[in-house]
């Protein structure tokens, strides 16, 4: 019963696709051409190579955002609950701080923070 339903369901899904494929292969007028087969379809011809490099400099903003914004968000509860924290939590937080300070140093070296 279940197997029958499963087979029926799969057939119900696949048959129309198969029929459409068959229709396209057998009956549709097939007229390929240079323009028709072109990859780009906006009416314009593509120019140059698609393998070009984009300057992905946005990561610097992401780092600075993490350092100044996310850090502050986590530092506030850290400061509030500081006296009651166990040693493990304190070390984990310091590692977190270290990582972000690392980011800050990186951004400084890149010259992001110097006023142009």
């Amino acid at each position: 019963m279940v197997v029958g339903l499963l087979v029926g369901g799969v057939a119900f899904g696949i048959t129309p696709v198969l029929l459409a494929w068959l229709w396209a292969r057998v009956f549709s007028p097939n007229k390929p051409g240079v323009e028709k087969n072109a990859t780009y379809e906006c009416g314009l011809e593509s120019k140059g190579d698609a393998w070009i490099q984009f300057g992905a400099s946005y990561y610097l903003y992401a780092i600075v955002f993490l350092v100044f914004d996310v850090e502050a968000v986590f530092l506030l509860p850290f400061a509030v609950a500081f006296t009651g924290l166990p040693l493990g939590a304190c070390i984990a937080m310091l590692v977190f701080l270290l990582l972000l300070v690392e980011g800050l140093i990186w951004a400084c070296q890149k010259g992001v923070l110097t006023w142009a």
Binding site: S28, P29, K31, P32, G33, V34, E35, K36, A38, E41, C42, G43, L44, E45
Partner: protein, 210 residues
């Protein structure tokens, strides 16, 4: 023979029996599922948009599915002034559409250049480069006119025979599906027009274009 069959069909329909042919059925399906290309050039495009909206409702004719890709479109409505800068793109879009494909030249500009005919940069009719099936006069034509053009196109599709010598261009293996794209020369587009477009029009006695 065909006449006999037609009479027989009418006779049967009088007695409540509906008969049809594969060709009729096929064309009936085709004419009621013409998908236009999402493509507008100038003020006529606003009328075209109005035609698709609730008040005029092109969906009644099965043509509400405006496709953003020429690969999925059957009809290109050249709605507006075709500048010489734009003409190669229009031809290229037409070339990229799959067969069978149809063209409606909407408005005076698409037909002949319209009020801008004497402009240095205006193409004097898109039928210089691609075969137009229906021309609609007007500046711009009202949505009713576009609907009329659409119905005219449907009649044309319905009347196309799928076999025999008078079958449409897309069913003739020897005829190309693409038309040459004009290029910019020293004095506007070159060539200034493609005279073979008219020979390639559907229904014409076969004159092979290369």
């Amino acid at each position: 023979m065909a006449e006999d069959l037609k009479e027989l069909k009418i006779e049967l329909s009088k007695n409540g029996i509906f008969t049809t042919t594969l060709e009729e059925l096929y064309n009936w399906g085709r004419k009621n599922s013409v998908w236009p290309l999402t493509f507008g050039l100038a003020c006529c495009a606003i009328e075209m948009i109005a035609t698709t909206m609730a008040r005029y409702d092109l969906a009644r004719f099965g043509a509400e599915v405006f496709r953003p890709s020429p690969r999925q479109a059957d009809l290109i409505i050249v709605s507006g002034t075709v500048t010489k800068k734009m003409a190669p793109q229009v031809v290229r879009l037409y070339n990229q559409m799959p067969e069978p494909k149809y063209v409606i030249a909407m408005g005076a500009c698409a037909i002949s250049g319209g009020p801008f005919r004497d402009g240095y940069n205006v193409l004097k009719g898109i039928d210089r480069y691609i075969p137009v099936d229906v021309h609609i006069p007007g500046c711009p034509p009202r949505p009713e006119a576009l609907i009329h053009a659409f119905m005219t196109l449907q009649q044309k599709i319905e009347a196309q025979s799928l076999s025999g010598a008078s079958r449409p261009r897309h069913l003739r293996a020897g005829l190309p599906s693409e038309f040459p794209v004009p290029a910019f020369g020293e004095h506007g587009l070159e060539p200034a027009q493609n005279t073979e477009v008219f020979l390639a029009e559907q229904g014409n006695p076969l004159k092979v274009i290369q």
